[in-house]
Symmetry: C2
Subunit: 288 residues, 2 copies
């Protein structure tokens, strides 16, 4: 794992089966991406869902044609030109783990979706907040789950998405990182620049739980519960040492939307936290 | 009023003081716009607020430089080119009525903001759902408030905006039009195409009231309550004749955001329903 310092190295490790864990902290400064793979008839609705909900669903790239898993059309435009997100990519193999959905419910987990991928499937890459964790760490604001080598905590919320075509009735999924209240302004400022990877937080502080409809900070629906700073207890259950939860839009939202809409057929996504890491580096996208 | 069939005619009528009423139904098929005018230091946060919340805050155009009220930079891009929104426009005079805010609260209503406009003010035009009412009418789905020559009903909701810089703590404002349940799919489809003027509805049906946090359908915060189809009672209070409320994002949202953020200094906006009508026609923007 020591050499997983580039996006390509992480992808190849996932592709060959030597990496099956979550990817927080790998290849720092490289953009990481969520994956959702939909039957072709749902693609127009999904593009519109992303346009209308760019904070939880920032669309980075998609299959250049239906069925394509290795040639992508980038939606990351800089100076009028699409930035290629990765050379040598295989959407069927390059996430360490995948979830497979059938008719809107989770069917099973796998490390390889190539046997399920058809010419009628369209893959979409959505920005991931792991992309700004390198910048937070550089600023002395290392996310706790990275320091503790855990998956981030992700929660279902009651905040509605703007509906789009077949996608109705869905809600935001959020990721959470604990920070001190006096750090929140700086955390907002640093992550604000990362427009296509969720940008600044959507809510913060303990009163955000009620606003977001999160009942139990210790029971995230995806990922792992955050621990206290000293690692001995569950964040928010024990002494919280003056930290508050800070919530960002999360690219698991499309998988939640697939379930809420009850989409028919085979849909595939990465297993939350187990991302496809891209070649793009944050300074190329946000400071280039 | 009979000749107010173009955007320019409506603007000139407002500019010369002969039009001081709301603009629903005027110049059918022409895009209508919400206005918000902010002190320059708030402009970057506002642009980001629009990017992060494109359904309630679709940014059409802004002052080409701070202080400019008649030269605009368009953000409506088609085939890589900005579409000019209007020749001969004066943001200080071309809305039939304005609201003036001081330090985040409403100060007064006026028909002319030229004495308050300074070189430090930046004007922003935001899409308005009046823009798709011509298309609805053409499809036999005439909005009731247009047929009854009333202002649309607009409501404050509890749905949070994604925060952006100084803009925190705000919520969606929505407009409402009654339709029969069996008409909702067609209404969604027709308005979906109008991406920069709020697009398809964000919620519909009586159970949407609770989701949006609207307590009283008969007491909108802006505009006028809808009436029953026969005009004799208040929609939702009397027999509703089988109609349900359908809600769209509304460009009054930025004015709500200014109040929630408590922005310092002089902020100006149109009076809700009293829009600036543009030269652009819907077929140029959405079917061109």
């Amino acid at each position: 794992m020591a050499n997983l310092s580039t996006g390509r190295a992480v992808r190849l490790a996932a592709r060959t089966g030597s990496l099956t864990t979550q990817t927080a902290g790998l290849a720092p400064s490289h953009l990481q991406a969520n994956l959702i793979v939909l039957p072709k008839p749902y693609a127009p609705s999904f593009r519109l869902l992303c346009q209308r909900n760019p904070v939880p669903c920032p669309l980075l790239a998609e299959s250049s044609t239906p069925g394509s898993f290795s040639t992508l059309q980038s939606h990351l435009i800089r100076d009028g030109t699409p930035l290629p997100v990765a050379r040598d990519i295989d959407l069927r193999l390059d996430a360490p783990k995948y979830l497979v959905y059938r008719d809107g419910t989770v069917s099973h987990e796998t490390e390889d979706i190539s046997s399920l991928w058809t010419d009628e499937h369209v893959g979409f890459l959505i920005g991931c907040s792991y992309s700004f964790e390198g910048a937070l760490a550089e600023a002395g604001l290392m996310p706790r789950h990275v320091a503790q080598r855990r998956n981030v905590a992700m929660y279902r919320t009651t905040i509605p998405l703007c509906p789009a075509g077949v996608f109705t009735g869905s809600t935001y999924v959020v990721s959470m990182r604990p920070y001190r209240p006096e750090e929140v302004d700086r955390v907002r400022e640093i992550t604000r620049a990362f427009g296509e990877t969720h940008g600044e937080p959507i809510a913060w502080g303990w009163d955000a739980l009620e606003k977001l409809g999160i009942r139990d900070i210790g029971a995230p629906e995806w990922g792992e519960p955050a621990r206290t700073a000293d690692g001995t207890g569950v964040f928010g259950k024990e002494s919280d040492e003056g930290y508050v939860p800070v919530f960002w839009g999360c690219g698991v939202t499309p998988q939640e939307a697939v379930m809420k809409a009850g989409l028919e057929g085979v849909v595939m996504g990465h297993k939350p936290g187990h991302m496809i890491v891209l070649d793009l580096r944050d300074h190329e996208v946000y400071r280039g």
